[in-house]
């Protein structure tokens, strides 16, 4: 028992944070409302709030270290035997603490922002502070009233805590959640910029320049967080994959998509002053999606491997989200006349709303769902009501209050559809399309339950099939964008630009077709269908040619990127006479955002290259006695012996295997099981991964018999996984290049006094960022999900039969513990038994469809991994795909109009140049002073 009453103090502190945040909010609002001297108060209030949040975090950390089990959270997530480092990571091991940790990371950003913003954006500052404080305020309210980490245990302090889940007791817990949280919380600052710009009406390009670095920083951390999530899943969860389309993964993938779209479309605004509404929307959307993702996973509404216990904080999030959306929509509505240069909400908006509403209604009809007429009318009218809301706000502003719209310079359309601008718009189209698709699929279980009271599961295979075509389009656009000139590309030059990349793609495709099978990477894979309908066949065909397409596209994009660097360097060599290295260095140094972006693209190529490897995964399962050998592809695995070990914390059972290739040993792997003393019922599985540049050998020991030493192994040969981590490294490197500040900016940051210190600080932060990526390259032994107390079975069991694989991939394990794992990856005994039973039915000649139907009847629709292709389930893919196709049509239609307008304008503007000669020199001077990029 400690002398200080930490629980009371902690709760008090949270109250203090709330008071401080509310006070700062009020002062900021006052400062924004015409009392500029209060800005200083707001600034210090922000610092005070941040410091108090930090104080609360350290207090909780103290409580963990001092084993203050009076605090329920401490008692539930730690015990006296845990080492100090896990006492620290336990801070974010559970719901309540992770909310506090979330607030803390937000406040770190806020502190950095408040420091940085001094003297800049004076008019926007109060609004930005108020926005940030409202975010902090919400999270503190949440903690105070729904999930207080300082809540005391009922019935006094227990003698010892329950201890942290063994799954969470590994070093990835120290890296992965903070990185992901940094990626999610970072969007509060760009959002504050949006609100600041909208409220103060400074809608020009100034705020965009200010927010640029913050956006890239948050994007970098979000990317890092996602990559670490993949790596963690691969190393820890022991199911042999890196991305399971789990709601938590989707929750961080969605903002990544919208943020990536923003990073591209903002460049159009910087160059043309257009797409203001779109950019504001994208950035707000990104922030809202980060909150929405938290809501999804924290509320327990959707089952997920990550999900925290179902709790009552969902309702708080729901209200906050509703408020946030209404606020953003009204704010954008209010500024719409300014953003659109006085143009009013017109027939286009009404038409789009009408079309969306009608489509929604049609789908409800087709879905043959017994929905109340209120819901039907609601779906029909919601988009129209949305536009009506905008129209109403517009009326209020322009007609009732008569606030005249600001004017900004005229819009001039595009010069051509063949321009980088339009390519970026197309990129936005596919990214947003993917976002809509993933969003709908993630929330579909909820929608289904609401509409027809039936829970369904949208398994990873559903995403894997549908995202392949979308991803390939994205990959293609990644290559096309940089090849097209800003403003206007012309036929001949375009041909020149596309010549080498296209050639590279053709060569790659040819090589793949001719040599692929020889080296184990055939151009086509066995077709497999998600549905038995036409859609399923089409998807299956796309999937089977995916390796060929993906390889060719990777070569295409790679060649395009290399060509960009080479051409840029050539220009410098010609004009400056530099040698290749100097020219390349100077090229990147002078336009870091552009070439940093290309490095990110390079990372994306590697990523896709690695993903392609998943098509060649080969999985074998066998039960062996020491000395016996099993074969996986060209590798042989010889089971040598069992090694037992013990430490104070746990008992360890290792199994030694030698990896042989062509008869000679190439590596040794040592999968294991750990039995923790605190959780003997949850043995963890240690995966052993042997990494080479071409293959990863992922070895899982499912079970070992202590007497006979008979071991059951699951071995997956996964080609090209290493390239995914490499790709991630290059993506982070690219972001680092793009955001690394110039010396002059560093000097400015510290008020012109200590450039060295700030330089060191920023550089070290970036190094850390890079190191995180580099760290992810080191193969390691990891403890993984307790996956089996499997009964031993004799002989080799192989899921090599494609029909069998197709069946098992569409059924989910229903043992109750590993709900979301499909039968073909689940290693539990129940799954094993079910596989045996279903194999028997197949042998008796039952069709796959019949077996699936039977499974559905037995366990309900929730047990099928991929929703069927009929009724409401069809809407799951039909709605987003229709939206994507319609949007493509709309984009081209609008684009042609823009291009016509732009063409006309250019022709007019390019007329004779009369007079104005005195400005020629000044223009040249201005151009010289404009930095590169």
């Amino acid at each position: 028992m400690t002398a200080i009453d930490i629980p009371t103090l902690g709760t008090l502190l949270l109250g203090l944070v709330l008071v401080s945040a509310a006070y700062t909010f009020a002062v900021s609002v006052a400062a924004a409302g015409g009392r500029p001297h209060l800005l200083r108060s707001a600034r210090f209030g922000t610092f005070a709030t941040v410091a108090l949040v930090a104080c609360a975090v350290f207090l909780l950390a103290y409580a963990f270290q001092a084993h203050d089990f009076r605090i329920r959270y401490v008692a539930r997530y730690s015990d006296r035997s845990m080492p100090a480092i896990y006492l620290w990571t336990a801070l974010w091991g559970g719901q309540d603490g992770s909310l506090l940790w979330w607030t803390f990371l937000s406040s770190l950003y806020i502190a950095g922002f408040t420091w940085w913003v001094k003297g800049k954006f004076r008019e926007m500052q109060p609004t930005m502070f108020a926005t940030l404080m409202s975010v902090i305020g919400f999270f503190v309210v949440l903690q105070l009233f729904a999930a207080n980490p300082f809540q005391t245990s009922f019935g006094g302090a227990p003698a010892d805590g329950e201890g942290l889940n063994p799954l969470l007791q590994n070093y990835w817990m120290a890296i992965h959640p903070p990185a992901l949280y940094l990626g999610l919380t970072g969007w509060a600052v760009p959002f504050a910029f949006v609100v600041g710009a909208l409220v103060t009406g400074r809608l020009g390009e100034a705020w965009i320049r200010g927010a640029r670095k913050w956006v890239l920083l948050a994007w970098g951390f979000l990317t890092l967080g996602n990559l670490l999530g993949m790596f963690w899943s691969y190393e820890e969860l022991g199911w042999g994959g890196y991305w399971a389309w789990d709601p938590v993964e989707n929750a961080s993938f969605l903002p990544w998509l919208t943020a990536t779209a923003y990073v591209h479309s903002v460049m159009i605004q910087e160059r043309r002053g257009t797409f203001r509404v779109w950019n504001v929307f994208l950035l707000s959307m990104t922030f809202i999606l980060t909150i929405f993702g938290t809501f999804l996973t924290r509320s327990g509404l959707i089952a997920s491997v990550h999900s925290f216990a179902r709790s009552d904080i969902g309702i708080y999030f729901a209200w906050y989200l509703i408020g946030l959306c209404l606020f953003v929509v009204s704010l954008i509505g209010w500024r719409l006349p300014d953003l659109r240069n006085g143009r009013r909400v017109g027939w286009l908006e009404w038409t789009v709303a009408g079309v969306v509403g009608v489509l929604g209604g049609v789908f409800l009809m087709l879905a043959e769902v017994a929905v109340s007429w209120v819901s039907r009318v609601g779906v029909l009218l919601a988009p129209v009501a949305f536009v009506a809301l905008l129209k109403g706000i517009e009326w209020l502003r322009l007609d009732a209050l008569r606030v005249a719209p600001q004017s900004h310079h005229e819009r001039r359309g595009f010069e051509s559809l063949l321009s980088r601008e339009f390519a970026y718009l197309v990129n936005n189209w596919i990214l947003l399309g993917m976002a809509v698709f993933v969003l709908l699929a993630t929330t579909f279980p909820l929608i289904s339950e609401w509409l027809r009271g039936e829970t369904v599961t949208v398994g990873p295979d559903y995403y894997n099939y549908w995202m392949v075509p979308l991803g390939l389009v994205l990959l293609f656009l990644t290559g096309v964008g940089p090849l097209i000139a800003w403003r206007k590309a012309t036929g001949r030059n375009l041909l020149r630009a596309f010549r080498w990349p296209a050639l590279a793609a053709v060569v790659m495709g040819g090589l793949h077709l001719t040599l692929g099978s020889e080296v184990g990477f055939p151009a086509f894979v066995e077709p497999n269908r998600p549905y038995e309908t036409l859609t399923g066949q089409v998807l299956g065909s796309i999937y089977s040619v995916m390796p060929l397409l993906s390889g060719a596209l990777c070569a295409f994009v790679l060649a395009a990127i290399v060509q960009e660097f080479v051409r840029g360097a050539q220009v410098r060599r010609r004009s400056k006479g530099e040698n290749w290295f100097v020219a390349l260095f100077e090229l990147v140094a002078r336009a870091r955002r552009r070439y940093g972006g290309y490095v990110v693209h390079f990372g994306i190529v590697l990523l896709f290259f690695g993903f392609t490897g998943a098509a060649y995964d080969l999985e074998e399962e066998a039960s062996l006695l020491p000395g016996e050998t099993m074969e996986v592809g060209e590798y042989d695995f010889r089971y040598e012996r069992v090694v037992m070990d013990e430490d104070p914390n746990k008992r360890m059972i290792y199994t030694d295997l030698t990896v042989l290739k062509d008869g000679s040993p190439v590596a040794r792997v040592q999968p294991a099981k750990y039995v923790y003393r605190s959780h003997p019922e949850m043995p963890t599985t240690e995966v052993s991964i042997h990494t080479t540049s071409l293959h990863n050998l992922y070895v899982i020991m499912s079970a070992v018999d202590p007497q006979t030493h008979r071991g059951t192994f699951r071995i997956i040969k996964q080609p090209l996984v290493l390239w995914i981590w490499l790709g991630g490294f290059f993506m982070l490197l690219g972001v680092g290049i793009a955001i690394f500040p110039k010396i002059s900016e560093l000097v400015e940051l510290v008020g012109g006094r200590q450039p060295s210190r700030a330089g060191a600080a920023v550089a070290s932060a970036l190094l850390l960022l890079g190191a995180g990526g580099a760290l992810s390259l080191t193969p390691s032994v990891a403890s993984a999900q307790s996956d089996s107390s499997s009964s031993l079975h004799a002989g080799t069991v192989v899921i090599r039969d494609p029909e069998e694989r197709r069946l098992f991939s569409r059924l989910l394990c229903e043992c109750g513990d590993c709900q979301r794992l499909p039968l073909h990856t689940c290693g539990c005994s129940w799954a094993e038994g079910m596989r045996a039973e279903l194999r028997g039915r197949m042998e008796r000649g039952d069709s796959v469809e019949a077996i699936i139907e039977g499974y559905r009847d037995r366990f309900g629709a929730g047990a099928i991994a991929i929703p069927s292709d009929e009724g409401l389930d069809r809407a799951l893919w039909a709605v987003p795909i229709t939206a994507i196709v319609l949007a493509a049509g709309g984009l081209i239609w609008r684009g042609r109009r823009w291009a016509r307008a732009g063409e006309q304008h250019t022709t007019e503007a390019a007329g004779d140049d009369e007079g104005a000669g005195e400005y020629d020199d000044r223009l040249e001077e201005e151009l010289r002073s404009l930095e590169g990029d």
Binding site: P36, T49, L52, K118, E123, A489
Partner: protein, 373 residues
């Protein structure tokens, strides 16, 4: 907590605060280390204590500012005129466009015909924008010239400026207009004036710009220090435009190169400066030229004092223009980032004039640019 550095009178500097906080924390740590060894719990409780103290200190600073204590913070300016901001933003995008297509031509992505056509179109528009930006400023420049002339005529002794201002304004100071006082009414007149501009009395003497000795009006060299009294006024007008506004902006551009920008930036810099002080009402009331002059001098004074409060080493300066200009440079200079004052960088001189009637001029400028459209 970079801002903990208080700068006003009687304010505890932030360094002291930090020292206090970290000293206390160090003391606590030392105490703990002495009693039971430095353990992790102790470290975390110490960190929590430090954060609590920092939080309370920041809160204290915040509350002080609410109740009017602490150093005066410069309030936000009330916003730029949208027309000008729009022009500046268009300029930025046009420059970017010209740069883009020239790069695309160099790497061979755009055909020569398209490049020529687009480049011509963009350059033409850019020049148009530059011209309109200048026109937008023209009324300010005129007013600045008039008011600076008046200012220099009336209150040369009051002018002060900051150290930094002097550095920037050094050039301007060299070229600043030496004057001579009218023996009859005391009004300052130009050195080469033959009659007083205020009372019309004949100016009997010629004051040496070097040592201040009074010479005969037709003297060619100073009788005390032998400084030439003839050459200087002849050289002066070109440079003088930039410093004090004696001629047209065009002339200045031709003769003084970079200083021409000073004139262009002047109105704007003053504008922002004025708004920063929230002086709309005052400025609007000040319609007559007389009032404007007075206000201008007062405000210049105010600006200098404001500077003085933060920089004790402030010294008296000879030119109001550079004094206020420097203020415009240092304080709203940050707004340059926001696209307000791309042109303000050289706004080191001749800003006093528009300082008095910035907002007034603003509305004028707005209307005139509207009309042009």
């Amino acid at each position: 907590m970079g801002d903990a550095t208080g700068r006003g009178h009687g304010d505890v500097p932030g360094v002291v605060w930090l020292a206090l906080v970290f000293g206390t924390a160090g003391g606590v740590l030392a105490l703990v280390a002495a009693t039971g060894g430095l353990s992790l719990p102790a470290l975390f409780i110490a960190l929590a204590a430090v954060m609590l103290m920092l939080g309370l200190a920041a809160m204290w600073q915040s509350l002080r500012a609410v109740f009017g204590g602490g150093p005066e913070a410069l309030g936000p300016s009330a916003g730029e005129r949208p027309e000008r901001t729009a022009l500046l933003e268009e300029k930025a995008t046009l420059l970017r466009a010209i740069k883009d297509i020239s790069f695309e031509r160099e790497v061979g992505k755009i055909s020569e015909e398209d490049f020529a056509r687009l480049d011509r179109a963009y350059r033409r528009r850019a020049k148009e924008v530059l011209r309109r930006l200048d026109e937008d400023l023209a009324p300010f420049v005129k007013r600045a010239e008039r008011l600076v002339a008046r200012e220099l005529g009336e209150a040369p002794k009051k002018k002060r400026k900051s150290k930094r201002g002097r550095k920037k304004g050094a050039k301007a100071k060299k070229k600043a207009w030496p004057t001579q006082a009218c023996p009859a009414c005391g009004t300052d007149n130009d050195l080469d004036a033959e009659h007083c501009k205020e009372c019309g009395a004949r100016l009997a003497v010629r004051v040496c710009s070097g040592c201040g000795t009074e010479n005969d009006p037709d003297a060619k060299f100073c009788k005390s220090c032998a400084t030439s009294l003839v050459d200087e006024p002849e050289r002066r007008p070109g440079a003088g435009v930039a410093a004090a506004g004696g001629g047209s902006a065009k002339e200045a551009a031709e003769t003084a190169g970079p200083e021409a920008k000073a004139v262009r930036g002047a109105g704007e810099a003053g504008d922002a400066d004025d708004e920063a002080r929230g002086a709309h009402g005052e400025a609007k009331g000040a319609r007559s030229v007389e009032d404007e002059g007075e206000l201008a001098s007062e405000r210049t004074e105010g600006a200098s004092e404001d500077e003085a409060s933060s920089r004790p080493e402030t010294q008296p300066a000879s030119s109001s223009a550079s004094g206020t200009g420097s203020d415009a440079e240092t304080e709203p200079g940050d707004d340059a980032d926001e696209g307000v004052g791309e042109d303000e960088r050289h706004g080191g001189a001749a800003a006093a004039g528009s300082d008095g009637d910035g907002s007034d001029g603003a509305s004028e400028g707005a209307t005139s640019s509207e009309e042009r459209r």
